[in-house]
């Protein structure tokens, strides 16, 4: 992965548990949200906790689903079902694009 990215391009990592309905829902919602709020695009990496346990440990993920925003800093963690859109936007720093 190249480090040469736009400084405020969103980089997300989403931890899900297989193809459960909640997980698929989480994926869908997130994608939906980002599509609407990130005109410049975003990077979303989906991690299956069953498939990459090491990553789970290293990132300290406990709850599923968990979303981690790596970029732009600071790192933010959000767990749950992402139903509350404004909360998600706030966590991702997308609401009004104000600096945290």
């Amino acid at each position: 992965m190249t480090h040469e990215v736009a400084p405020d391009r969103l980089r997300l990592m989403l931890f899900i548990s297989g193809a459960s309905p909640a997980s698929t829902r989480a994926v869908r919602r997130l994608r939906d949200l980002c599509d609407r709020n990130c005109p410049d695009g975003y990077d979303l990496e989906i991690v299956d906790v069953y498939q990459q346990p090491a990553l789970v440990v290293s990132r300290g993920v406990v709850a599923v689903p968990t979303l981690i925003k790596d970029l732009p800093p600071p790192v933010r963690v959000l767990a749950g079902d992402f139903a509350d859109e404004s909360a998600v936007l706030t966590a991702l720093g997308l609401s009004g694009r104000t600096a945290d």
Binding site: V56, G60, V62, A63, V64, V77, A83
Partner: protein, 630 residues
């Protein structure tokens, strides 16, 4: 980030990061929005605990329930639903999720349901759910508060009531049908009771007159006698018989006869007291039951009853019909049947005394009755067994004294060996209808004899049998005679029938026909005891006859009494004139024999020639002239 930073990052996450993760995790767990938890178990092994895993047993239960189940949030939106609910509503499961539960209820029920939801109470209520295709389904919706991880979920169970409703309706239908059938049963029951009552009535009442029949009468008589024993008030029975009723039926027809009976029933009923009973016993017999005063005789009743039937007189066509009545009063210990017999005997007495009157049963009658019963029993016994004997008295040609035939004379053999002559039993025989079987027996026996006599003596004999008018009227005489002749293989011209004059014979076409048929078979017909009865002339005038028998009273008085001689002469002249054979009875002296012979009498019988004997002795030898003396 540098690679180094990456490595460092990956090896151990910084504390503040880990804290942030932990915080977020806890928050998400409390919000109930977490799907699974990843735990580190010993030696670096990881386990992912999905909340699904935790509640899988419950989930399986819910999925497999026969009821629909759903979880709704505070806004009434379906968060979870099982397959059963989806199939109940005819909708794919995904369509249910996220939508309001109330949408699936019938429109008018939605608002109240939402209100209930808001109220937060638990309850069960019947609703109408609307399927996707619009059809309605009766359901029972159970609303429960549940302690969900979010705390605000409501648990719903939805039970399909269609089958139950259908069953309820069927039960209601069956109930209605049952009620209908019970009503019908009640109706049939009451119909049956009516029919039973009617049947009882009919078995005890005479259909023509509506009066009680004999059975009911006897029943009431029994009750009255029982009561009489207590109260001392005697019971009286009247036996009423219409005189010559048969004549009305025969000449005017049964319709006229029926009307007459109804008239009689009406008149009798009108003069009795409310507690009395008038019954129709049989044919033209009526019975009346009344309770009298102690020591009194039912004279007033008798006069009233008889008066009712004679004043005004009973008229049918050109006839005036009278009635004879017998009365009997109860005494201690008398049985109902005995009382009826006494009334009956008294009635017969009334008839013998001249009819159109009443007679009261008294001691003289009682004795007669007793005697007659004994006589009847004796006769029946004789008939049943071997008690009937027939003797034969030869009849000879007066010219040469040779036998030409014999008269059959019936006797009853008694147990001690004596023989009874008809005078002692013929009245009984007539009264109790035994004269027919008796006559038939005599006929059969008599027909068997002539051929035996012929065999012994070498010349043909005839046998002469007495026939009563009753036999002519009631028996199938032609058939009996034909059968008797056939059984004995006796030619018809060897049988003679002598009609006695014990009672009046109605010379009607039927009788004439019978006699004609007999004569066609070769049988000869004659009148017995000629001149003694009051019908002799009528018989001679009207019947097809072959011979006349001069009564023995004239024969025995011939020499002493000019009247008797005149009778004999006149009878002989008549028979000669009409071409009839003449036979004299009771010839006891030679003088009588010779005189009769000289007067032209053809044949005769009497002690001079032979006494009545058994068949075997009839041609023991030629009856010698003057051989046998009485």
């Amino acid at each position: 980030m540098t690679a180094d930073e990456d490595d460092r990052h990956q090896a151990t996450a910084p504390l503040e990061y880990r804290l942030a993760v932990a915080e977020e995790t806890v928050r998400a767990l409390l919000a109930g929005s977490v799907d699974a938890i990843v735990m580190n178990v010993e030696r670096g092994e990881q386990r992912v605990y999905t909340l699904e895993t935790e509640d899988r047993p419950y989930r399986r239960l819910v999925e497999r329930m026969s009821e629909g189940a759903a979880l709704v949030d505070a806004n009434g939106l379906i968060v979870y639903a099982n397959e059963r609910l989806a199939s109940l509503l005819g909708v794919p499961l995904e369509r249910l999720l996220g939508g309001p539960f109330s949408d699936w209820l019938d429109e008018p029920e939605r608002a109240p349901f939402i209100a209930q939801l808001a109220a937060g109470t638990s309850e069960h209520a019947e609703h109408t759910a609307r399927r996707l295709n619009g059809t309605g389904v009766p359901v029972l919706v159970g609303l429960n508060t549940t302690e969900g991880s979010s705390g605000s979920l409501r648990c719903l169970t939805v039970t399909d009531l269609s089958q139950q409703k259908a069953q309820q309706q069927q039960v209601r239908r069956l109930n209605a049908k049952l009620t209908e059938q019970v009503t019908e049963l009640h109706r049939i029951n009451s119909d049956l009771e009516d029919a039973e009552r009617l049947l009882t009535y009919r078995t005890l009442h005479d259909p023509l007159t509506g009066l009680p029949n004999r059975a009911l009468f006897v029943n009431r008589l029994e009750q009255s006698l029982a009561a009489a024993a207590r109260t001392g008030h005697p019971v009286a029975v009247a036996f009423i018989d219409l005189d010559d009723f048969k004549r009305v039926n025969d000449t005017l027809g049964h319709a006229a006869g029926d009307l007459l009976l109804q008239e009689v029933a009406g008149r009798l009923s009108a003069v009795v007291r409310p507690n009395d009973t008038v019954a129709r016993s049989a044919g033209d017999e009526f019975l009346v039951l009344t309770v009298g005063t102690p020591g009194g005789l039912p004279v007033a009743l008798a006069d009233r009853l008889l008066g009712a039937l004679h004043d005004p007189p009973l008229r049918v066509g050109a006839w005036t019909v009278t009635a004879s009545m017998g009365l009997a009063v109860s005494y201690e210990g008398v049985a109902p049947e005995q009382l009826l017999r006494e009334a009956d005997a008294a009635m017969y007495q009334a008839k013998r005394a001249g009819r159109a009157r009443w007679e009261l049963f008294g001691s003289r009658l009682r004795n007669e009755l007793r005697y007659r019963r004994t006589a009847e029993q004796r006769l029946r016994k004789a008939l049943a067994g071997d008690g009937v004997r027939v003797l034969y008295q030869p009849v000879v040609d007066l010219v040469d004294g040779q036998p030409v035939g014999a008269e059959a004379l019936v006797r009853l053999r008694q147990s001690h060996g004596g023989l009874l002559v008809p005078a002692t039993f013929m009245a009984t025989a007539e009264e109790c209808g035994l004269v027919l079987p008796l006559g038939q027996r005599v006929l059969e026996l008599a027909c068997e004899q002539p051929l035996r006599w012929e065999h012994k003596s070498g010349h043909p004999w005839y046998v002469s049998v007495n026939v009563s008018p009753r036999q002519l009227a009631e028996a199938d005489l032609v058939a009996e005679v034909t059968a008797a002749l056939a059984a004995a293989a006796l030619p018809g011209d060897q049988l003679r029938l002598e009609i006695t004059e014990s009672a009046l014979l109605d010379v009607d076409p039927r009788v004439m026909n019978i006699l004609d048929q007999m004569r066609a078979m070769g049988i000869r017909i004659g009148v017995d005891n000629f001149g003694t009865g009051y019908a002799s002339m009528a018989y001679v005038r009207r019947l097809p006859l072959d011979f006349i028998k001069i009564d023995q009273s004239f024969v025995s008085g011939m020499h002493d009494d000019v009247h008797d001689l005149a009778m004999v002469e006149a009878t002989l002249a008549l028979s000669h004139r009409l071409g009839l054979e003449s036979v004299a009875e009771g010839i006891e002296t030679e003088a009588q024999w010779h005189l009769l012979r000289d007067l032209g009498c053809d044949a005769g019988q009497g002690f001079l020639f032979a006494k009545p004997t058994t068949s075997g002795l009839v041609c023991a030898g030629q009856p010698a002239l003057g051989d046998q003396r009485p």
